[in-house]
């Protein structure tokens, strides 16, 4: 096949082969685009985090004393919109996925590099509109845009926020499209489906959701915008419309969207656990197919967000039953990761600490999901802090822990530098403690009946003590998030140069230079080994594989 041109002696890599702003803004290199995304989403992460901090400070005391009611409502709305649409959804796929998907399957780039760049520009256009919206007043509907409040009653900038998310949505769609085509068409010789890293399987499943779910939220937001501008009546009960139709369409995307956030994180955790336990993942095919199962079942459960919204009792029963179905593959994954540790040779490097953190927090987040899926209990805890705690355990405890773990794991590959291990372990610990302190009390608050999106709880002073814990935790969590940002930046200049494979990890991305050359590999790789061949890496020979049962 493609004969390689002899590599020059000094190592040119994707970072230093070209300089200048233009070489970045017009790049079609998936690795550079990943870095563009990294910078953009980090920016939005800190904006969203700042809003979160203000929310927690306001809730420190029962009275509404720090900000005005309207400001508070905008804070939690913008926190949600920014964190979900401009941080979590692009986080792992657009940064780590973009960087790693082609490399892990031995390709030179994604199938459509220019569309990849277009994705980033769409994200930036959407983000710019969103930012303008935030700076000129923001939105106060909650990230859910429930009608008819959003279409008829609020006087905030719904149209702008809707368009921002609409455009960013196309960025997500195109990324998913690019991944699916790349995974189908660009695998190097020998890279069969059963040899794909689980990170790839997870991204494949994520892409399915992005492709089939995101267009529905796009059209829904378009309808909201049209409804708000022209008062068509589609969602307005005064004109014969049904506000629940909006909720159906909204959650058709927004429930699977949770899996857009968590599935890639599961992929990252699979890689990390295998590497630091020095083992092949237990039940590879079950972990792989459970990703696909989650993606598909995830589309069947949306109305469990609407059990008390006024849908029919019979529909609620169906959706509740299906909701349990989606919990099964998630449980299967957790069991398999646990079993992978058995008879491993476990190292406690920072990425592994994040993976442990993920396991713990995701388990709690997933199990509390059972409470919400069960109709009887959901009536009580729906729209309370119980829900807030639950989805933060999934999306922050799960998705964000995975993202940070992945950033540490692949940082040497991305930057060519090693991060300070001691600081990283400390940060992992701080994040874990801060997170639990912030969100565990909220489960209790929720069961006691504190509704979410409450600005002022001076009539229920009994809720204060738990809120104080939560706010204290948020401060610790904030420090935990700042630390990696600082030492990653520090390491870019002062960190030790990273070897090609600092973890002795399996996977094609570790078989090329750190940082990799522009086209990833000097020679097109040919895969002759199974995924996660840690026996060969550690002992130099293939071990007799034990099949239990």
């Amino acid at each position: 096949m493609a004969t390689a041109i002899a590599q020059p002696v000094e190592r040119t890599n994707y970072l230093n082969n070209e300089y200048g702003v233009k070489s970045w803004l017009l790049t079609t290199d998936h690795k550079r685009i990943a870095l563009l995304y990294l910078i953009s989403i980090t920016f939005f992460f800190f904006i969203g985090g700042f809003f979160a901090l203000l929310i927690r400070l306001e809730l420190l005391t029962p009275a509404g004393d720090l900000v005005q009611a309207d400001t508070y409502n905008k804070l939690f709305t913008m926190h949600g919109m920014v964190m979900i649409f401009f941080f979590l959804i692009p986080s792992i796929p657009a940064v780590l996925g973009n960087f790693l998907v082609p490399m892990m399957i031995g390709a030179k780039d994604l199938a459509f590099p220019r569309i990849n760049l277009l994705s980033w520009y769409l994200y930036i256009i959407g983000a710019a509109i969103m930012l303008h919206c935030i700076l000129t007043g923001g939105v106060d509907t909650g990230w859910t845009f429930y009608t008819p409040f959003s279409t008829e009653y609020t006087n905030t900038k719904i149209i702008e926020a809707g368009l921002g998310i609409f455009i960013a949505g196309f960025s997500s769609i195109l990324t998913g499209l690019n991944f699916v085509v790349t995974i189908h068409r660009m695998r190097c010789p020998g890279m069969t489906w059963s040899r794909l890293p689980l990170f790839i399987w997870a991204h494949y499943a994520t892409s399915i959701i992005q492709i089939l779910g995101t267009p529905v939220i796009a059209i829904t937001l378009l309808l909201v915008v049209a409804e708000r501008a022209l008062h068509l009546g589609i969602f307005d009960p005064k004109l014969g419309g049904d506000p629940l139709l909006f909720q159906h369409l909204f959650w058709f995307y927004s429930h699977p969207a949770v899996y857009i956030m968590i599935l890639p994180s599961m992929g990252v955790v699979s890689e990390i656990i295998a590497c630091f336990a020095r083992k092949r993942i237990f039940g590879y095919s079950f972990v792989a197919f459970s990703s696909i199962a989650i993606a598909v079942f995830g589309f069947l459960v949306w109305a469990h967000h609407m059990f008390v919204a006024g849908i029919s009792v019979y529909a609620a029963l169906v959706f509740s039953l299906l909701s349990y179905a989606v919990a099964v593959p998630s449980a299967v994954k957790v069991f398999n990761w646990t079993a992978t540790l058995y008879k491993g040779s476990i190292h406690y490097d920072a990425p592994m600490l994040y993976a442990f953190g993920f396991l713990g927090l995701f388990t709690i987040g997933g199990l509390t999901g059972l409470f919400l899926a069960s109709l009887g209990v959901d009536i009580h805890v729906h729209d309370t802090y119980f829900v807030v705690a639950h989805f933060h355990y999934i999306m922050v405890g799960g998705a964000l822990m995975g993202y940070l773990g992945g950033m540490h794991f692949w940082w040497p590959k991305i930057s060519g530098r090693l991060y300070p291990e001691g600081w990283a372990r400390l940060a992992a610990l701080i994040v874990f403690i801060g997170f639990n302190l912030t969100f565990f009390p909220q489960f209790i608050l929720g069961y006691l009946g504190m509704p979410r999106r409450f600005y002022d709880y001076s009539h229920m002073p009994e809720f204060q003590i738990l809120n104080v814990f939560s706010t204290a935790g948020a401060t610790i969590l904030g420090v935990g998030y700042l630390l990696p940002m600082i030492y990653f930046l520090w390491s870019m200049r002062y960190g030790k140069p990273a070897p090609d494979n600092p973890w002795n990890a399996a996977g094609l991305e570790w078989k090329t230079a750190s940082p990799p050359p522009t086209f990833n590999f000097d020679e097109e790789p040919v895969v002759t080994w199974e995924a996660y061949n840690y026996d060969e890496i550690d002992t130099g020979h293939k071990q007799e594989v034990e099949v239990v049962g």
């Binding site: 009611a69 309207d70 409502n73 106060d140 429930y146 008819p148 409040f149 009653y153 009960p237 506000p243 336990a277 020095r278 237990f282 079950f286 059990f307 919204a309 006024g310 509740s320 349990y324 919990a327 099964v328 449980a331 299967v332 398999n336 646990t338 540790l341 058995y342 008879k343 491993g344 040779s345 476990i346 190292h347 442990f356 388990t363 709690i364 199990l367 059972l370 069960s374 109709l375 009887g376 209990v377 959901d378 009536i379 009580h380 069961y447 006691l448 009946g449 509704p451 999106r453 409450f454 600005y455 002022d456 840690y534 550690d538 002992t539 007799e544 594989v545 099949v547 239990v548 049962g549």
Partner: protein
């Protein structure tokens, strides 16, 4: 209701607590037991179909059990008992307006007797709200343009929080109130004060003022159907469908009369959209209900309700609920 929900909640806590404990101890044990030691390589294990099947099936069966339990509770919580006391709730930004069938009106307060089933007929004047009483483990979104139904039975006298749990704008957190649960005697006393007559009587007055009675006559000669005994019964429509004449049907028939025309009648009724307020609608519905003396879902004649209430309440208080 609260007891049932709590029982399931505790069961879920135990199940997920055990599950968490199992996973955490296993992870921690493995992590410590199999920590990296020089010269001890990891043992490769491909997987185990038996284990996979086990940990797919067992959670699934547990989930199914939880589903049936919780579905039973839900079904019960969504089906008001037949002879409940009826209370009409109109939500608006940012207050709860409450009307008792007996005519009492309250704002942000709901007085109910202990031990009696109370059926709430909820609607909103503007955006979506949600009627949430944590102590009763009860919640129902309140939608504009239609009625949603909820019910509860308070078992202990006292004052309980009432929240709006669906975000509804600036003063969402101020849209709160109290549910005051009273002993039957006290409730009786409270009821006797300050009422402008039963809601159905108000409805009858509006019915006359709007001229409804010209067509909806009490014989078979009217241009509109006779409304005696209609409520809660199936109605044949001119396109062959049958609907139950519930609150939502009566509401639609007043606001959008052409939508579901009764068989044998012409679509001549004008719409009252914009001409009647939510409160007037409630009164009209209460009136239509009062015409239905068989009263499948409606209250008996409103005046009779207070007298029968204490006796019933006393009888039911012994039940553990």
């Amino acid at each position: 209701m609260a007891g049932n929900v709590d029982a399931l909640y505790i069961f879920l806590l135990i199940v997920s607590g055990l599950m968490t404990l199992l996973i955490f101890t296993t992870v921690i044990y493995f992590a410590a037991r199999y920590r990296h030691r020089q010269g001890v390589p990891a043992e490769q294990i491909e997987g185990s179909n038996k284990l996979e099947i086990t940990w797919t099936t067992i959670p699934f069966l547990v989930f199914i059990a939880i589903f049936f339990w919780s579905a039973t509770i839900y079904f019960k919580a969504r089906t008001p008992p037949r002879d409940s006391t009826e209370v009409y709730v109109v939500a608006k930004q940012w207050m709860w307006k409450i009307e008792h069938a007996e005519g009492q009106r309250e704002i942000n307060e709901l007085h109910v007797p202990v031990g009696r089933d109370v059926k709430l007929i909820l609607t909103s004047q503007d955006v979506i709200h949600s009627f949430f009483v944590p102590a009763f483990r009860m919640k129902q979104d309140v939608l504009p343009g239609r009625y949603t139904i909820a019910w509860f039975r308070a078992t202990k006298p006292g004052t309980y929080h009432l929240f709006c749990s669906q975000y509804c704008g600036t003063q969402h957190s101020g849209m709160i109130g109290n549910v005051v649960v009273m002993e039957p005697a006290q409730y009786e006393a409270w009821m006797s004060g300050g009422s402008s007559g039963p809601l159905s009587a108000t409805g009858e007055k509006i019915f006359a003022e709007l001229g409804c009675a010209t067509c909806h006559r009490t014989d078979t000669q009217g241009r509109g159907p006779n409304l005696q005994g209609v409520f809660g019964r199936p109605v044949m429509l001119d396109d062959g469908r049958t609907v139950i004449a519930d609150e939502n049907y009566v509401r639609e028939s007043i606001l959008d009369p052409g939508a579901k025309v009764v068989q044998g009648f012409k679509p001549v009724m004008p719409t009252f959209q914009g001409l009647v307020s939510e409160e007037q609608l409630n009164a009209l519905i209460a009136y239509v209900k009062s015409l239905s003396n068989a009263g499948s879902a409606g209250s008996k004649t409103a005046a009779a309700a207070p007298q029968s209430a204490p006796a019933k309440a006393a009888g039911e208080r012994t039940q553990v609920e």
